[in-house]
């Protein structure tokens, strides 16, 4: 098992997951690096018979991110990402504002809902794989995802028209 090959294949998705869990690019990079070093650690818990390596890697990122998040809440360390390409300055300002609102809304979700939402919506992961990563039943995944979306719908209700306006 070549760690660098695995890195090339999975680090992008793992970084996005860690970033959206912690809200910090620096923390996300640390977590991704720790995740791959874990593979080299003597007595590493990864067992190819139990789960694919991708599932195991996401599980490690999740545990590391939650550990950091509990030490330093993500809302305290939000990075400001670069603007999107294309839109006008006004649209950029508006989009940046909406993006900030969405990010805060996601990051203020309860941990158990946030991780499910990120994996399902942003990583487009099947519910069975999410259940495997989080070591919970599929029913629990569904209910957490449902609660997260309900909560976000309420929090972001005021911004729906802006999205439509922005897309027009």
């Amino acid at each position: 098992m070549d760690v660098l090959e695995l890195f090339d294949e999975h680090h992008g998705a793992l970084f996005r997951f860690a970033y959206r869990l912690t809200g910090s690019a620096a923390d996300a990079e640390d977590i991704v690096q720790t995740c791959f070093l874990e593979l080299l650690r003597p007595g590493c818990s990864y067992d190819p018979k139990r789960a694919p390596v991708r599932t195991w890697l996401f599980g490690v990122v999740r545990n590391q991110a939650l550990k950091r998040f509990r030490q330093k809440p993500a809302s305290d360390t939000l990075d400001i990402p670069g603007g999107a390409n294309g839109p006008s300055p006004e649209q950029q300002v508006l989009r940046s504002e909406i993006e900030e609102v969405v990010r805060r809304a996601v990051l203020t979700l309860p941990e158990v809902q946030r991780e499910v939402l990120i994996l399902a919506h942003y990583e487009q992961m099947p519910l069975t794989e999410i259940a495997s990563i989080l070591d919970i039943e599929i029913g629990a995944v569904k209910s957490r995802l449902q609660r997260a979306r309900v909560s976000l719908r309420e929090t972001l209700a005021a911004y729906a028209p802006n999205v439509e306006q922005n897309h027009e």
Binding site: V3, H11, L40, P81, G82, I98, E99, V102, L152, Y159
Partner: protein
């Protein structure tokens, strides 16, 4: 807000790309990690290894033959070893004397438990009176020595080779063996070895065991070993003395090993 609107809103949150240095960091960390796998293993297991070693040592101190390769020990003999300083001796024995001592013995310098396997002595344990640390060190040495010797006999020598190998006795511990000749010849002759210039000088009884008494010169005739071997105990030496020749031609005892207890296993 419907699901599509919510999804579109959520999609506005973009993530920055990971920095280019991340791969370099991982590559460097991987290289560093691969250079010290042994150290990491040692750190992980050092306490377990230390505890295991402590348990083994404790077991050995309680039961010195606990990890012996040999399982069939037919008997054990406890012996005392004494060393003699010439200047302190009032009188000495001669090699011709079967009793070999007409003076008060000094305290023993060593206690040994051993037996004979195929005519050759195997030391199971030993200790030095009033020297706890030296006794422990000696016991640890005996453990490895016995394991190596047992391994050689069990896996490297076939029965014929072992029978043809030399029998030894240890008058003063494992570092000073006396060779008694081929094992098969020793056993088949009732311990009447003729190895080297050895000769039988008589018969005796030690601890109620009939013994054959053999004398064998060493070191160019400057030392004389007298060995009391019991045929019933696979030619175990129940008594051994080593005399040194003096400039005036007389002999003085330097080493004496005397059995004090014979224990037959399974009885």
């Amino acid at each position: 807000m419907n699901d599509t609107e919510l999804d579109e809103l959520l999609n506005t949150w973009k993530t920055p790309p990971p920095s280019g240095s991340l791969r370099q960091s991982v590559r460097a960390a991987v290289a560093a990690q691969q250079q010290r796998p042994r150290r990491a293993w040692l750190v992980r297991w050092r306490w377990a290894a230390a505890m295991a070693a402590g348990v083994v040592l404790a077991v050995l101190l309680v039961n010195p033959s606990a990890f012996s390769w040999r399982r069939n020990v037919p008997f054990t003999v406890d012996s005392e070893i004494r060393h003699y300083q010439f200047e302190n001796m009032e009188s000495v024995a001669t090699p011709e004397s079967k009793v070999g001592r007409n003076f008060a013995p000094p305290p023993p310098v060593g206690l040994v438990t051993s037996y004979n396997e195929g005519g050759s002595e195997v030391i199971l344990s030993g200790s030095i009176p009033n020297q706890t640390l030296k006794s422990i060190a000696g016991q640890i040495f005996l453990m490895f020595w016995s394991a190596a010797d047992g391994f050689k006999r069990r896996f490297l020598l076939d029965p014929d080779e072992e029978a043809a190998s030399f029998a030894v006795v240890y008058p003063s511990g494992p570092f000073t063996p006396l060779v008694l000749g081929r094992r098969d010849a020793l056993l088949s002759s009732g311990c009447r070895t003729s190895h080297g210039d050895a000769k039988v000088i008589g018969e005796d009884v030690v601890l109620n065991y009939p013994v054959t008494v053999v004398q064998e010169p060493h070191q160019g005739g400057n030392q004389m070993a007298t060995i009391w071997m019991a045929p019933a105990l696979s030619c175990f030496a129940l008594r051994v003395t080593v005399h040194a020749k003096q400039t005036d031609g007389t002999w003085k005892m330097r080493i004496e090993r005397q059995a004090v207890k014979v224990e037959i296993r399974g009885q």
